[in-house]
């Protein structure tokens, strides 16, 4: 049977089919949909699935489950692998018992912000095998294969995908679920599971190296394919594979190719064999010249001189996701032919000039709109200029505070980094106040250690925690602070209590829908010496709407509205438009309003009225 599945959904299907019993991860584009798809089915499947607090914790949970004999998987985006790597590098040395798979998705072309990190290097650094997915079908098949390999070699296996596979859907052949109900069991073996002695560690290192070779033997003929047809050759891997095939079919190209499905260790022998018949070679892989450099090594050692096209000679870029056009161009360079012309560049240029830019801002009714408005006003109230006050931002919806009309945030680094950076600015000698803004989920993920550090070092700064109750940007996942809903975990951890526990003394709570009070409280917090924390608490507007929380209905009174546009320029709420029939430019609130009431508070003419109160 076939199903229409995205790469991530196909991975979820693979997890079900391979009898996995523990699944954990942290939400992050472009990897989120694996757990998102599985979580609602957890009960029916009878397995443990969770959104963990961060990727490191998730990896540790999956690992111990595997050590107890179960099949387990952990999922994350590339940035999450940086967080998890501390534990993973050590775990890989120890190996595993039940199959243990680490699924990571890179984002060449930056579909979701952050770095174009090439996670293939982690496989080398961590000394573990890595399969590289190149289609939706492989997303499913490679999960099963990864579990098989992991159990045979008794070590964790990396499974890597990229956004242009994980987020695209295609027809995928699905199979049957194998249900494994393994007995949990773990035997004490300190020479394998601890690392106090050099000899133990080095033995473990040797074990990982041995496992690499075993993995290579198991998968070689199953994931690496060779096609021989002439002296022109292409070595291709990952997401580039699909567009390469598209080009070969479209232009009926006659060339030899080697498709590589395992990137660590690379199939040296196969590559050497392949190069024997090739005079001119193109290496197609997105991001870094990971395979290309190795191909150069192999060709050098084999003593055969081959022309190699790729990143080193500038044929291809180290940035972005390769479009069909780029792959076609590189093939034109390889074959020295012109394959097809493109759209008239004049037309494209003119169209680009005319294009309508649609900047992203907060959603309709978003509580963060109120928080950033209040921060800006508090800065003004204390007679500072906005351009003089450093506000470090963090990952998630909260970073949209860098955009118009607020332009509050200055930096974005990594989960929790806003609080660390803010301290550094103070110790560097910035005398004016420094603020950090961070979301609730981000705070739980990595914001707690820097808060403890700030309190302990007694630095003067203000931390604004924008607590909207959800991990919103990645699609509204639950986190430890989410309001417990039916069917979900009844535990809830209150951020205020966490901050108290971390030793913070000056903690206040505001409702960002109440602007006046919020401005006053933030201004006081900024003036407070030492660490001050403001928890700005209001549920994500889209979730409130979904959960049918009752909020007021508002309208603009056309007799009072003067068309001054203060509401528009200070809030930029997408629910407000110009009154369609009015020439003076009066405002109107459309039915998409989520009733936050902020516009009512900022309107100098009191023209915005509540027509129905919240129930």
């Amino acid at each position: 049977m076939k199903k229409l599945l995205t790469g991530n959904e196909a991975v979820a299907e693979g997890i079900i089919e391979s009898g996995t019993e523990v699944v954990c991860g942290y939400p992050g584009t472009p990897s989120t949909e694996v757990i998102q798809t599985l979580l609602p089915k957890a009960k029916e499947l009878g397995i443990h699935i969770e959104w963990s607090v961060n990727e490191k914790v998730a990896s540790e949970i999956a690992t111990a489950a595997s050590w107890a004999g179960k099949r387990a998987i952990v999922t994350m985006k590339m940035s999450g692998l940086n967080v998890a790597s501390d534990s993973l590098c050590s775990i890989i040395y120890s190996g595993c018992r039940g199959g243990l798979v680490i699924y990571v998705v890179d984002d060449p072309g930056v579909s979701a912000g952050m770095v174009e990190q090439d996670s293939r290097y982690y496989a080398k650094l961590g000394v573990a095998p890595m399969l590289d997915i190149s289609s939706q079908q492989e997303s499913l098949d490679f999960v099963k294969l990864a579990f098989e390999v992991s159990e045979k070699i008794k070590g964790p296996v990396f499974l890597r995908s990229t956004a242009s596979i994980s987020h695209v859907a295609s027809d995928v052949k699905i199979g049957k679920r194998v249900e494994l109900k393994r007995e949990a069991h773990f035997e004490r073996d300190i020479s394998k599971y601890t690392k106090p002695k050099a000899s133990w560690c080095m033995n473990q290192h040797q074990d990982s190296l041995t496992r690499l070779n075993e993995a290579s033997k198991i998968v070689d003929s199953r994931v690496n394919q060779v096609h021989l047809e002439g002296k022109y050759g292409v070595i291709v891997s990952g997401a580039a594979w699909e567009n390469f095939q598209e080009a070969v079919n479209r232009y009926n190209l006659k060339l030899s190719w080697l498709k590589i499905g395992i990137v660590n260790p690379l199939p040296d022998e196969k590559i050497k064999e392949f190069l024997k018949d090739i005079d001119k070679l193109l290496v197609l892989e997105e991001l870094e010249p990971f395979i290309e450099a190795e191909v150069m090594r192999i060709s050098f050692l084999s003593g055969k001189k081959i022309d190699i096209l790729g990143k080193f000679d500038g044929t291809l870029s180290m940035m972005g996701s390769y479009s069909f056009k780029e792959i076609k161009k590189s093939l034109e360079a390889l074959l020295k032919v012109k394959l097809e012309s493109e759209q008239n560049s004049e037309i494209i240029k003119r169209a680009e000039e005319l294009e309508v830019k649609r900047p992203t801002s907060f959603c309709i009714g978003c509580p963060h709109r109120g928080t950033y408005y209040a921060i800006n006003k508090a800065i003004k109230k204390l007679k500072y200029k906005k351009k003089d006050i450093i506000v470090t931002g963090d990952i998630g919806c909260t970073i949209l505070g860098m955009n118009k009309p607020f332009e509050t945030c200055w930096t974005e680094v990594a989960m929790g980094a806003s609080i660390g950076l803010a301290q550094g600015f103070k110790w560097a000698g910035i005398e004016k106040p420094v603020l950090a803004t961070i979301g609730d989920s981000t705070f739980f993920h990595a914001g707690i250690p820097p808060l403890i550090n700030a309190v302990y070092q007694n630095v003067s700064l203000t931390i604004i925690i924008l607590d909207n109750g959800w991990t919103a940007m990645t699609g509204f996942q639950e986190n430890p602070g989410t309001i417990p809903l039916k069917d979900t975990n009844p535990m809830r951890i209150d951020i205020v209590e966490v901050c108290k526990g971390c030793g913070a003394k000056d903690i206040s709570v505001i409702d960002p829908y109440h602007l006046k009070e919020s401005i006053d409280v933030i201004a006081e917090a900024i003036e407070h010496p030492g660490v001050s924390v403001v928890v700005s608490r209001r549920e994500c507007a889209l979730q409130s709407r979904r959960r049918k929380v009752n909020l007021p209905k508002l309208k603009v009174n056309p007799d009072k509205c003067t068309g001054c546009r203060v509401c528009l320029s200070s809030l930029a709420c997408p629910a407000m438009i110009f009154h369609p029939k009015d020439k003076k430019g009066l405002m109107e609130i459309t039915s998409s309003c989520n009733g936050c009431g902020l516009c009512k508070d900022v309107c100098p003419e009191e023209a915005i009225e509540v027509i129905k109160d919240a129930v």
């Binding site: 076939k2 199903k3 229409l4 579909s111 242009s164 596979i165 987020h167 695209v168 859907a169 295609s170 027809d171 699909e242 567009n243 095939q245 598209e246 079919n249 479209r250 479009s323 069909f324 056009k325 076609k328 097809e340 493109e342 759209q343 008239n344 037309i347 494209i348 003119r350 169209a351 680009e352 005319l354 294009e355 309508v356 830019k357 649609r358 900047p359 992203t360 801002s361 959603c363 309709i364 940007m473 546009r565 528009l568 930029a572 997408p574 629910a575 438009i577 110009f578 430019g585 998409s592």
Partner: protein
């Protein structure tokens, strides 16, 4: 054989839902499918675009000059797709314009319709205009604009009408009759043109 469909609009118009129905229809027909969606921060007013590729397809995205048909739910969004239009390919243009916030006060900054048409003509596109909003209002369901366009697309693409209606029925939670009516109106509107 490939059939490449490009669909664009802004958040809230139902571009993704429309595209997904087409992808599911192709699956029902036993075809190979690639379904790409770009939704960004998926909020109201942000640009949204999808590509549905059917038949002997491999890559996730439509190669240059290869889109057989386009459905443009927000007029200016077609400007982001000129690279893909196949000469003589059909472009279904919805009359709707959605201004981003900074253009609301300056509607004159929105690209002129004549200029858009000129570029489309230069690209040798075959334009079909539809006022989907008006038709959706006629059937009494303003949010069914996407289904009006689905009707038009199905008619021009000679889709198996029964089959696509079945997929549509399965994918809409409520107001089935009105949605089907919207589809049928869209289907008929373009029929005489062909």
């Amino acid at each position: 054989m490939q059939y490449n469909i490009y669909l664009a609009g802004v958040g809230g118009q139902g571009v993704v839902r429309l595209s997904e129905i087409i992808a599911r229809y192709a699956m029902e027909k036993g075809k190979r499918v690639k379904f790409y969606k770009e939704i960004g921060l998926a909020q109201r007013g942000g640009p949204v675009h999808c590509e549905v590729r059917i038949g002997d397809v491999f890559g996730p995205r439509i190669p240059p000059l290869s889109s057989n048909i386009m459905v443009i739910m927000e007029l200016s969004e077609v400007l982001k797709a000129l690279e893909l239009i196949k000469p003589k390919g059909v472009v279904i243009l919805n009359k709707k314009k959605v201004y981003p916030i900074d253009m609301m006060a300056h509607p004159e900054r929105y690209p002129k319709q004549e200029e858009i048409i000129k570029l489309l003509n230069d690209a040798k596109a075959e334009i079909i205009w539809i006022d989907a909003e008006k038709i959706a209002l006629e059937v009494g369901l303003p949010i069914a604009e996407n289904n009006v366009l689905l009707g038009a697309l199905s008619s021009i693409s000679s889709f198996d009408k029964e089959c696509i209606l079945n997929v549509l029925r399965k994918s809409i939670p409520r107001e089935i009759d009105k949605n089907i009516a919207a589809f049928n109106k869209g289907y008929e509107v373009v029929n005489p043109i062909r």
